[in-house]
Amino acid sequence: MAERSFKKEVQKLYLGDGAEFRGEGILAVTKALLQSGVSYIAGYQGAPISHLMDVLADSSDILDELGVHFEQSASEATAAATLAASVNYPLRGAVTFKSTVGTNVASDALANLASGGVTGGALIIVGEDYGDGSSIMQERSHAFAMKSQMWLLDPRPNLPSIVRAVEQSFELSEASNTPVMLELRIRACHVHGRFVAKDNVRPTFTLKDAMEKPVRDVSRIVLPPASFLHEQEKIHTRWPAAQRFIEARGLNEFFAEQSQDFGIILQGGMYNTISRSLELLGLSTPFGESRVPLLVLNVTYPLCDADIRRFCSGKRGVLVVEEGQPNFIEQSLHALLHEADVPSKIHGKDMLPMAGEYTAPTMIQGVLKFVMRYAPHLIDDLRLPAAARTAPTRPLAMLPVTSASLTSQIHPRPPSFCTGCPERPIFTAMKLVERELGVHHVSCDIGCHLFSILPPFNIGATTMGYGLGWAGAAAFNTKETSRRTISIMGDGGFWHNGLTSGVGNAVFNKTDSVLIVVDNSYTAATGGQDILSSAATVPARTTKLSIANAVRGVGVKWVRSVTRTYDVAKMRDTLKEALTTKSRGPKVIVAQGECALNRERRERPLVARRAKEGKRVVRERFGVDADTCTGDHSCIRLSGCPSLTIKDNPDPLRTDPVATVLDSCIGCGLCGEVAHAAVLCPSFYRSDVITNPSAIERLHARVRRAVISLVHRRIDRRLASILG
């Protein structure tokens, strides 16, 4: 079950001809796929394309109606390989994943697919996780398109353009027998906008048709001599066909083409920011009526020579706006114009930064520089926007309050484990073990658990990719020390590839080290999608498989499961045993605890209903007694739970803030376990609020209260004599 329910969004997929669709970019893509007569869709979740997967997972009805097969692939490689269905049959298929990380994983399959080419339209929708909000290394998907010769679309980031790009991608793919990548940046995926819908299309040729009348064509298989033929085909047939299609169908767009003798060539995805930059410089209007010629490359690979020549001829200078590096487009333009004898001067990374996101301030300054060079009279110095007057890295310089001390007061606030997260206690236990046994080398993985590298835990040395936690420690396999390494892997990464790349590898190479598999029942970091070991019953999928059994199945002998990670002492002792036991060989600890975010979302309404129905319900939460808390905050350093924070010390004699538990505490129990396991302090208490208690309980309570209040009266008398 995904984190968000998409019931409302699913309805939008039914919209017919002429109806207006309003919603998120990535959902518009989903609708566009159905309008394009797609036969199958697959993918692997991950920001920013998770919602595409989630909404389809919730819309089996409409998919069945249209005869569309949807699959949550085991990995991006699986997703990419799924496109093999379009090699021999006129089937339109689409896959999606986060890029470049997903494209890295998929590239084996993508390279094979691109070599043989496709018959039906094959579309790869990549969520380009670059710039602000990105969680991965900063690279470009562009390179993948170039190396395998797949075409790359980068449409203007508005819904009509994005939807059009999806439809055109299939046609381009079929016209040139080449898979097409559609690149959408984070903000474009999440942009809310509108477009006019069309009817969904049921594919004329279906999966059933293909399966009942299979065909094969050995010339499409990547094996000599066909593989050599493929390379020739790419250059001599598919590439020209693509260029012809792009030009004839006007996929790239020209604006104000003849208005100046200089102009800007930009990636489609940069359009809105360029348009706003020009507007702020007085060179365009809110409606995008630019006074500077623009060539918008909705297709960034291949470059369409004819479009480029047409735009550049007669222009003294051209600015290429190409985000990220290397600057492939700019480099190709140099070659292309040189060969075509077009004398325009090409600018790009000389006016815009080589690396990093092209934010509006960056862009404004780059464009300003460019225009000042070719037509300074167009710029009104007195009306420059604020963003043009300052270095983009130092916004403070323009502020009325230029206060360095203000900056020092603003702490970074990176994401961290949620309230009640079951993964936190694993790292609490690691901290406690570290105190006893010293520091160990820790190899991390991708997933929520990677928040361990940040305060308060500061645990983890490297992360080499999804599912590669244990593989990242493979070198540390020597008999010269008895100190073992610890690796972390999430359940998502485990099923993605970690079972083979990590566990199988460790067994085969007789590694003497420890792996902790964090089993929270979902791929929690990507939004809580189901996987093989999910605890939920999902009719369309197989779930509830045991990670411990899988690990044993590939030959690990030393396997321990901790079924409740909140039990810090158990977690600590298990880890200690794994690190110190005489038995050599790979050791795996499966640490289980359902993602609290998902559990709460499911349980809270149920609990509320039970309480309303008059059933007995207990709500647990933790608290800290301010009068015994001495304000050392050890508990926070071992937890970091957002609900465990500080407040003013109510004691007139003390000044340091005391620890306090907020209302948002879900009573996971970690606070109490830490107080015990780390022997912290007696300030923590748990309060159980019992709604609809039983009659016996009420009676008991009455008796207790009577006795206790007798004692209270005694105590109160003494206190009154002292405190009045």
């Binding site: 996780d129 602000d132 909000g133 969680s135 903000r187 942009v191 809310h192 208005s259 359009y271 920011t273 702020l280 007085g282 409606f287 509006a360 710029i379 009104d380 604020a386 963003a387 916004p395 323009m398 009325p400 309050v401 203000l406 007061q409 702490h411 606030r413 994401p415 961290s416 484990f417 308060p456 608290g623 009068d627 001495t630 304000g631 905050h633 050890s634 970091g640 500080i646 007139p652 004699l653 000044t655 015990h676 912290l680 302090c681 007696p682 208490y685 748990r686 309060s687 709604t691 309570a701 008796v703 207790r704 006795v707 004692v711 209270h712 105590i715 206190l719 004599s721 405190l723 009045g724």
Partner: protein
């Protein structure tokens, strides 16, 4: 066309309507997305184009994040026969509305240059959600949040602020609702209050509580709540047994110290008895005289000594903890905290982990020492206390157990720890007194050193070690200029980490 004058074009540009820009700075999971959704819905139902983006990613998990909206009048688009091109990210200096769901996030908006005096309406909640480093500090790592308010006042065209989280809490709503109300009240968007409220209604979840919170947020923005004019804190009430001691404070101590010394007196009367409080005052007499002679008239030395002496004399032993846990006021406090209704039952369970040392601490000294002697008894008790215990204070047995321990109070003066603490305390006090006449500033720093003594068990042991190390360095410090600052650096180092690394380094630099 190349020659068309800038002036002409600029004039044209200024006539064209431009988008209204809105940025929301929030923390993941806090509902900033709801607020953005309401704004989009409001705009789209009121004849505007609306575009909204965000980069949620993993920032959903409690990190800070920005939602960005632009809205544009449809009639202007119709007049132009074109659709507007809206931007996907905020441009510094070009924001009409900035909403921050917390005070440090407000500071972040200002720091990023999003708030400018020519056009930005800034709406911020003044409550704090403390950052990790503020929370994990070994003492007090909180930033000075008043700076954010000053900066906001200077940077914004108008600045609406109040504790919106409080409003949300009181109305059982989420913070988006009162913030949306405040946005409506500012008039920064061209929509009526009814239009705003309709958007909330269309949202469909928790409509009633949201509207209630909306209304309070609206009013708060129109008439900012006056800060309660700081009435001087009333004198604490004093019980009959403590009146003589209280009278002595008034007559024998300077007015600058009354509050703190009286608080100390009451603390110690509560902790032990009036006799103990009188001893406290006896100890302070000398410091008072020294401060009168060498101080600057603010009685800083006396105040800090009084503060730390009172805290030290009321060190947290098992008797004290049990005593505090079973009080009626404490039961009531927990009830309030969990907002229990009369028909609900509340159980309170303590997480205690008394170890052999803490048990020995409250026993009469010879008995305590006997218990700690290596041998069978020690081993047995250690085994019995290896695991922590959960004691339900609301159960009869739990309550009476704790009551029994609390009743050991009269025996405390003979307890093992009492003697130990008294000796340490006295040598510290003697050091303060000895230094006061020669180096007043250093004496003040010494007076504050006991702030290193914190916590229980291992934490307390670590604090004691640090305290001893720092006190041991005073001799060496006094040979150098500016000994006070040197000592301050040492105590700061001791509070910089809990591994003792910084302190070891700082001590190394002295010797």
């Amino acid at each position: 066309m190349n020659t068309s004058s800038t002036a002409q074009y600029s004039a044209l540009g200024s006539r064209a309507p431009s988008a209204i820009t809105i940025a929301i700075l929030a923390m993941g999971g806090e509902g900033g997305g709801v607020l953005a959704d309401w704004i989009v819905d409001l705009a789209e139902h009121s004849g505007f184009f609306a575009q909204k983006t965000s980069v949620p990613g993993v920032a959903q998990r409690t990190g800070s994040t920005i939602y960005y909206c632009e809205i544009f009048p449809e009639n202007a688009a119709q007049a132009a026969g074109k659709e507007p091109v809206l931007a996907l990210s905020p441009v510094l200096g070009e924001l009409d509305v900035v909403i921050a769901s917390e005070l440090m996030e407000c500071g972040r908006a200002i720091q990023r240059g999003l708030v400018t005096p020519d056009r930005t309406t800034l709406i911020a909640s003044t409550h704090r959600v403390y950052s990790m480093s503020e929370r994990t500090d070994l003492a007090d790592g909180r930033v000075d949040a008043s700076q954010f308010i000053e900066a906001g006042t200077a940077a914004a065209r108008s600045f609406v602020r109040t504790d919106f989280a409080h409003i949300a809490h009181d109305t059982g709503s989420v913070i988006s609702a009162p913030l949306f109300g405040a946005l409506a009240a500012t008039g920064a968007l061209p929509f009526s209050r009814e239009q705003f409220e309709d958007a909330v209604r269309r949202g469909g979840v928790g409509v009633d509580s949201s509207l209630a919170a909306f209304a309070i947020g609206f009013d708060a923005a129109v008439a900012p709540a006056r800060k309660p004019t700081g009435a001087p804190p009333a004198d604490p009430s004093v019980g009959a047994r403590m009146r003589p001691a209280a009278a002595r404070v008034k007559s024998a101590f300077p007015a600058e110290s009354h509050a703190i010394v009286l608080a100390g007196v009451l603390r110690l009367g509560d902790y032990q008895d009036e006799q103990y409080a009188a001893e406290y005052l006896d100890k302070l007499d000398n410091i008072r005289d020294l401060d009168t002679e060498f101080g600057k008239g603010d009685f800083f030395l006396l105040n800090e000594t009084a503060r730390h002496l009172a805290l030290w004399m009321s060190y947290e032993d098992a008797i004290r903890v049990a005593d505090l846990k079973i009080r009626r006021a404490r039961f009531e406090r927990v009830h309030d905290e969990v907002q229990a209704r009369a028909d609900q039952l509340v159980r309170i369970s303590e997480f205690l982990h008394p170890r052999i040392d803490e048990i020995a601490d409250i026993l009469p000294a010879p008995l305590g020492r006997w218990l700690l002697r290596p041998g069978l008894v020690k081993r047995v008790v250690e085994r019995l206390t290896r695991n922590g215990r959960i004691v339900e204070t609301t159960s009869l047995s739990g309550f009476l157990q704790l009551y029994l321990i609390a009743s050991l109070r009269p025996l405390r003066r003979r307890a093992l720890r009492f003697g130990r603490e008294r000796a340490l305390m006295q040598s510290w006090l003697a050091e303060v007194a000895r230094v006061a006449s020669e180096d007043y500033a250093l004496a003040c720093e010494i007076a504050m050193c006991p702030r290193l003594l914190k916590g229980y068990g291992d934490t307390h042991a670590r604090g004691s070690r640090n305290f001893a190390a720092v006190m041991g360095a005073i001799c060496a410090l006094r040979m150098r200029p500016n000994a006070a600052e040197g000592l301050r650096r040492l105590t700061d180092a001791a509070l910089a980490d809990d591994t003792g690394e910084k302190l070891t380094f700082a001590l190394g630099a002295i010797s």
